[in-house]
């Protein structure tokens, strides 16, 4: 009798396809996955604890370092939470700027998701093209905030500074070029038969499971659940824009990937509209009148926004002093990773990479 044996393979924490320092313990039967155990925490910096020792404003640079691929969105979630706690109304101009930069951030993040997904499946060129567009976005972020990745641009009560003059031509040029770039990704990656063979029907996540397991973001929408906080519970001024929520059908890797591609197009639409409306606005302040030393009243707030990876929630407790009593961050990547085991079972090693890539995690956020 031939006797076979399961064997364990340590994938990570140093591995080309785990998108950071994620360790996956794979239990394998040949190349078939029996069980996956994600081990996280290699990048744990204790941001929630650090926040307790900082003033409300000083927490902002730390939120950048959660999902460092979409730092603006992290900023946005935090400052909106504190504003909700303090009841601050921010100037209209700041609202528009926030929408523009956060949607740019979403595009940048999805560019990475799409690009690294192509790389995970072995297509190196598919990785470079989205990065090229992301680079243009980074340049614009640099104009706005002075930093390419960790912007710390938003402030409680508005944004740090108005958009610079040189930003407008740059964004217009980008908006003009971007649809054809997405077409290029579509042609090179989405339409490729090998890519489709690798992703269609792989790692199916049913609608019920996705909701039960608190999955969010494009991963949830890929399973066919139309739940985008920008529509379901509009925050900021998202109710003023006309856009659609792309939803998948089958919940496989391809649907999750394709949701991101379509979301990039929708974000592009939002930026276009926001820019148009912003230019009609008269110039004005971009900061509300807030005291220099922030002392929110005693209380607590839970605020959620739709981040690039999913629902990004901030739970801030104030005890009336200048420092937050507790900051908790609901990180979408962390929760989405929970279901990796179930999605991978029965698939091959190569599919683990494909499924992990389709969830689109970023380890700064997973480990907090």
């Amino acid at each position: 009798m031939l006797r076979t044996e399961e064997f364990t393979l340590n994938m990570g924490p140093q591995h080309p396809a785990t998108h950071g320092v994620l360790r996956l313990i794979l239990h394998l039967d040949g190349e078939t996955i029996v069980k996956v155990e994600p081990v996280v925490g290699y990048l744990h910096r204790g941001i929630e604890k650090l926040a307790e020792a900082r003033t409300y404003t000083q927490v902002i640079p730390y939120t950048d370092r959660l999902d460092y691929l979409a730092a603006m969105l992290n900023n946005l979630g935090y400052v909106q939470a504190v504003e909700k706690l303090m009841g601050i109304e921010i100037p209209e101009r700041a609202e528009y700027i926030r929408i523009i930069v956060s949607e740019m951030s979403r595009i940048a993040s999805h560019c990475i998701a799409v690009g690294t997904y192509a790389l995970d499946l072995g297509g190196f060129t598919g990785f470079m093209y989205p990065f090229r567009e992301r680079e243009k976005l980074m340049d614009m972020f640099e104009m706005i905030s002075g930093s390419r990745m960790t912007h710390s641009y938003m402030r409680i009560g508005g944004v740090a500074a108005d958009l610079p003059e040189e930003f407008y031509p740059a964004i217009k040029k980008f908006l003009k070029e971007f649809p054809s770039c997405v077409d290029e990704y579509d042609g090179l990656i989405t339409g490729n038969e090998i890519f489709q063979a690798r992703t269609k029907g792989v790692g199916v996540l049913s609608q019920e499971k996705a909701v039960q397991y608190s999955i969010s973001g494009p991963t949830l929408r890929g399973s066919g659940v139309n739940y985008d906080l920008r529509k379901a519970r509009p925050y900021g001024i998202y109710d003023r824009f006309d856009f659609e929520v792309p939803v998948g059908e089958k919940g496989d890797c391809f649907d999750r990937y394709y949701c991101r591609i379509q979301e990039m197009r929708q974000s592009h639409r939002i930026i276009e509209q926001a820019l148009e409306q912003l230019e009609e606005l008269p110039g004005g302040p971009v900061m509300a009148k807030v005291p220099k030393v922030l002392k929110p009243p005693k209380g607590e707030v839970y605020h959620e926004i739709e981040g690039a990876k999913g629902i990004l929630g901030y739970y801030v407790v104030s005890d009336g002093t200048t420092k937050p009593y507790r900051v908790h961050i609901r990180r979408p990547s962390f929760i989405n990773l929970d279901l990796l085991d179930e999605m991978c079972r029965g698939w091959k090693i190569a599919d683990v990479v494909a499924i992990l890539g389709s969830i689109d995690i970023v380890l700064g956020e997973v480990d907090c």
Partner: protein, 161 residues
């Protein structure tokens, strides 16, 4: 038809092969940095009033400042930024009431030796005691003179009333 996607991919990569490249050839070609770029810090020593706002604004205790008070005036002795802990968030620059702190467009902050990493913006010896005394005496004189003048003029004013 099966295979059309494959051919389309080939067409796209062929097209890209012939389009101009986007690389900036860094040391030869200079990348134009925007005005707001967060690079090396610079401090306008004369404008600085040593108020310590930047020290308090910093989320990560990067800035170390030492001052001495000479003739009731704060004098900056040391202004060192432990740049390896810096988040480049810009809160210190923003908090400066006199716009003394700012950015340069220099981003090559890497060093070979760890002790070279902290960014020393001001490093001055404390004034020698004689000098200090002299300055203090001078200041005291000035103040006294001003006071006397004020009193004199004030007396006149009063008298006028």
């Amino acid at each position: 038809m099966f295979g059309s996607g494959l051919l389309k991919g080939l067409a796209i990569t062929w097209k890209e092969m012939l389009t101009p490249k986007v690389t900036i050839q860094y040391p030869d070609e200079i990348y134009s940095l925007p005005d707001r770029f967060h690079g090396r810090f610079k401090l306008d020593k004369d404008a600085c009033i040593s108020c310590g706002m930047c020290v308090r604004a910093c989320p990560n205790n990067v800035i170390k400042m030492e001052t001495e008070t000479v003739a009731r005036k704060k004098r900056l002795l040391k202004y060192v930024m432990d740049i390896k802990y810096c988040l480049f968030c810009g809160f210190c620059v923003e908090s400066c009431p006199k716009n003394a702190l700012g950015y340069e467009k220099d981003f090559e902050l890497a060093q070979y030796k760890l002790d070279k990493v902290p960014l020393v913006l001001v490093d001055e010896e404390p004034l020698p005691p004689e000098e200090k005394e002299r300055l203090e005496a001078e200041a005291a004189q000035k103040i006294a003179a001003a006071k006397a003048k004020k009193e004199a003029s004030g007396g006149k004013d009063k008298g006028g009333e």
